[in-house]
Symmetry: D2
Subunit: 317 residues, 4 copies
Amino acid sequence: MATQRKKLIIDTDGGVDDAQAIFMMLDSTVYDVIGFTCVRGNSGVNQVVRNVLKILTAADKLSIPVYAGCAFSILGQHVIQNSYQGVDGLGDCQSAEEPDVSILQREAATDVIIRLTKEHPGEITLMCIGPLTNLATALKVDPDFSCRLRDCYIMGGNYYGKGNITVSAEFNFHADPEAAYIALEQLRCPTTLVGWEVCEENGPTWDQYHQLRSFSGKRNQFLKAIEQKPVAFSIKQGWNYSPADEFLAACMLSPSEVVMETKHVYATVELGGKLTYGQMVVDWNKVLKKEPNLTIVTKIDKDTFFTALLNTAKSDI
Amino acid sequence: MATQRKKLIIDTDGGVDDAQAIFMMLDSTVYDVIGFTCVRGNSGVNQVVRNVLKILTAADKLSIPVYAGCAFSILGQHVIQNSYQGVDGLGDCQSAEEPDVSILQREAATDVIIRLTKEHPGEITLMCIGPLTNLATALKVDPDFSCRLRDCYIMGGNYYGKGNITVSAEFNFHADPEAAYIALEQLRCPTTLVGWEVCEENGPTWDQYHQLRSFSGKRNQFLKAIEQKPVAFSIKQGWNYSPADEFLAACMLSPSEVVMETKHVYATVELGGKLTYGQMVVDWNKVLKKEPNLTIVTKIDKDTFFTALLNTAKSDI
Amino acid sequence: MATQRKKLIIDTDGGVDDAQAIFMMLDSTVYDVIGFTCVRGNSGVNQVVRNVLKILTAADKLSIPVYAGCAFSILGQHVIQNSYQGVDGLGDCQSAEEPDVSILQREAATDVIIRLTKEHPGEITLMCIGPLTNLATALKVDPDFSCRLRDCYIMGGNYYGKGNITVSAEFNFHADPEAAYIALEQLRCPTTLVGWEVCEENGPTWDQYHQLRSFSGKRNQFLKAIEQKPVAFSIKQGWNYSPADEFLAACMLSPSEVVMETKHVYATVELGGKLTYGQMVVDWNKVLKKEPNLTIVTKIDKDTFFTALLNTAKSDI
Amino acid sequence: MATQRKKLIIDTDGGVDDAQAIFMMLDSTVYDVIGFTCVRGNSGVNQVVRNVLKILTAADKLSIPVYAGCAFSILGQHVIQNSYQGVDGLGDCQSAEEPDVSILQREAATDVIIRLTKEHPGEITLMCIGPLTNLATALKVDPDFSCRLRDCYIMGGNYYGKGNITVSAEFNFHADPEAAYIALEQLRCPTTLVGWEVCEENGPTWDQYHQLRSFSGKRNQFLKAIEQKPVAFSIKQGWNYSPADEFLAACMLSPSEVVMETKHVYATVELGGKLTYGQMVVDWNKVLKKEPNLTIVTKIDKDTFFTALLNTAKSDI
Ligand SMILES: [Ca+2]
Ligand SMILES: [Ca+2]
Ligand SMILES: [Ca+2]
Ligand SMILES: [Ca+2]
């Protein structure tokens, strides 16, 4: 019964990997996506809105409301220099037609997150697959709102100091380190995080990738189109296929099959540092004597993860 | 005509010096105080609400709406260790009776600031005499709101690196350095600041202070009571009488008489630093090649300032 | 032939684990220890001198010259709060009699390191098992001296951000982060490092530890005595036996048997950071586009390591 | 009697303003310059050596020994991007012929400073008019050496956070912030500092400058030649004539006439900070509860300062 499904808000920066992760969640029989909140990240927030509408068009799910969120990081940064996912943050794919932005909701992302948790206390799951600015701002306006969340899932950060945008920081955390700090320090609901190391180590092979994109269907063709640029670039660089948000989706959808190991720890974010600004800091040995605030996924099953991607590809007919 | 007066919102942390500054603004024929927004600072925000209600009780102005704002700094700090103004932030004075907090407005401070600037675009002056958390949060939720402000006045920061709470930082800025940074970087209306150096150098003598408190009247007796502890402590320490928020009030009320010199500069806030965290940084020589964002009051007329205090004391009958 | 052995200077802070590592190196047929330079670390440098003389007394090697080095870190820190190895940094063991400090050489550690590399250019190996202050100071006085070193081996730092003294930093690096930074940035000879993660993961079991200390002999009894306090404390805390300097010694003595994996990378030290001050930062993905400056030991053979300890214990008759 | 004069070592980075300051000290009947130690600053240390030899050639004082010092800052920075004093740091003046560098002493700067204080304990004044790297390195090698100094005079830093190279930092301190920190924290002799604010506010007029350079004489012609570039640039920018090292020289030579006000305070250097790295931090209100370590010159007599420059110009015949 759909009414029994868990209510899910997806907070996204509308990137290439967000698309596949969103498709995975939309297929779920466990979660019922009740809204998308957009946040500046791979591109400016207005472009993110357009990207999310394109993704929902490909999935025939424009009925789910989309909300615009923060246009700047907590400290005010706007554009992030990262051409990997294209200037538009969604692969600069020409084929996808421009969406009708008039269907964007008027309510601001932070307001809607706060309002919905008041209407459905303890029932909403928040899935964050972009910088954490919306979440942090909601925590500033209403410090208690997270007590009314069921739980929160985050893709971002790192636990061994391995960076993918700077030497020490992961993209989503580095895009708004203060927001990541606020989130980890002030969330008061069960929170689970998939960090960069898990993504880096468990990506499918390129053969597996091509198998995924061999299926027809509207969503698969959409993914193939938006992935063209980053995939070509990755192969040229000798990189692996390293999706990110999809790992979080898989861990949420099939925790018992995908997640092999987690650690319940105190973790925070370095806000100083010449090189480590935005790095996640994990207190493995309880040096700081703080209560654990985070469940980190440290090992996943690579094969089951690929199967999850494959199932999403196959379900698109 | 009262309707011609400039609409003023006072954002306050309800401290001892806030009280006298509020009395000064309430006497004004130029400004019409349309609301008070409370922010954690000298004490927790719930206590600040009580303090502001006490101040308004002494002024017979409980008709002006009071709103609660942020309970934590941007990065989440709660209590500030600073017993100077008392545990309650208002001199721990027993005589003032507990106010009726049921008259507190339900709307959150950030929401009301954003809403009122929409209802009265270009007409509202914001006067900030506490940490800048409410202002910064409003800028996060609605980055454009300050374009709808008439202007903004801030007591806080320093321009010669002289600290009064740490070696390098002034109290209001240090209480929320990130908020001060956000405010200076993202405000888009004319902004004037009175920093700590002006306060330190232009305080009245103790003789002058005692002259001020020789008047009767409900407000004067209230000020005398709440100032008892900090005044006794200051005299014991060999310190001068150094009110702070009152300087901003005097500069707003009598700019041509009180303000002797201003500088229009680019200024920001140090967010790193082992010693300088929260220090205001002024680019006197345009090294950073940024547009000026702030008018700093660098010299005031000491005598005219005292006269302003005296007039407020005399007006209380 | 002894004359064919590689000349070795051991730069040490005279701690409990330094003792066993020194015994291992003194047994070596590959290295010829030509001097000990002392550096403040587990205790003040004068105490370190006494500790090293005690260690050499136990090994009957007082003929090797000992030199005093830096008494303060680069930024001037003196005492390190870390009672784990005892107030004297050598287990507060009463039985070892006070050494005759009059045999301490007059020449300063930095001077002797510089001089010996001039006398034996390209022939000297430097083994650092304490904070890197002596090494950094020598690099300041004579930036070219390391070009005359054969190679340099360092126990210190971490490569996954795991701290053992702060949440993010390893003891030797944290004891003088600026020195560690100077060393990594300015050394111009092949440099190999064993970091904390290797030590944490590959310590012997307590059963194995007790087997080690079951042997008689002067050195073993000495080790047993100085290890008493830290071992008791570790067992009480539920910690493993985690020697540190011994891992570096084993890697130097039996590289082909002990070292299973190394990475040649650019690594440096975070000198800012609220939590990460002193953390080693490894540029795994060449984000900084710098030349590799360090060979990090990332995997060792646990069993062979224990065998190395065992051989040292057995050789003491 | 020359033998009664105070022994002076001048530690210099051989810049344009160093030249005039050196001429002032060479004329002194109070100080006897016994050596020059060179430090990287306005140019690399080898160029500094050449610059100092040129300056001494102009002054006919090649008999005073010159020593080369540190080629890199404490953290290893080499070249400072600051073309103001020319690529060679001495105005890129072609006329001055290349000096004979073979007369450079072999002894390193740090060694000679340490040795001379041992030979003449309590008799030597150290005058620092460049980055403080040599001084800091000497303090690392021999922490006690400054106890054997008579006193130390420093041109560098700032006390109101006014920068001349970055927004918050003065050139000499910013060129090696860690060295400045080490110097202020670890010097154990009376230390007097002239900071940037004094230089900025008390420079002669351009008319006065032209009066200074109207005199003939070898030194004046030399100064005129090396100052040509920076003077032309300053006039074009609308800047004042702001010599720096000369202020320190004047304060040392005529303290009672030139120095109008000093403050004895605790001061240190910010080593973190995004904007304030290298800023001097003065604890005006004893917030840090540390013993004063520095005498800061806060006011000088502008006219007497100019007279000092004039006297040096006139003495050159
Ligand atoms: Ca994303
Ligand atoms: Ca206030
Ligand atoms: Ca050691
Ligand atoms: Ca100079």
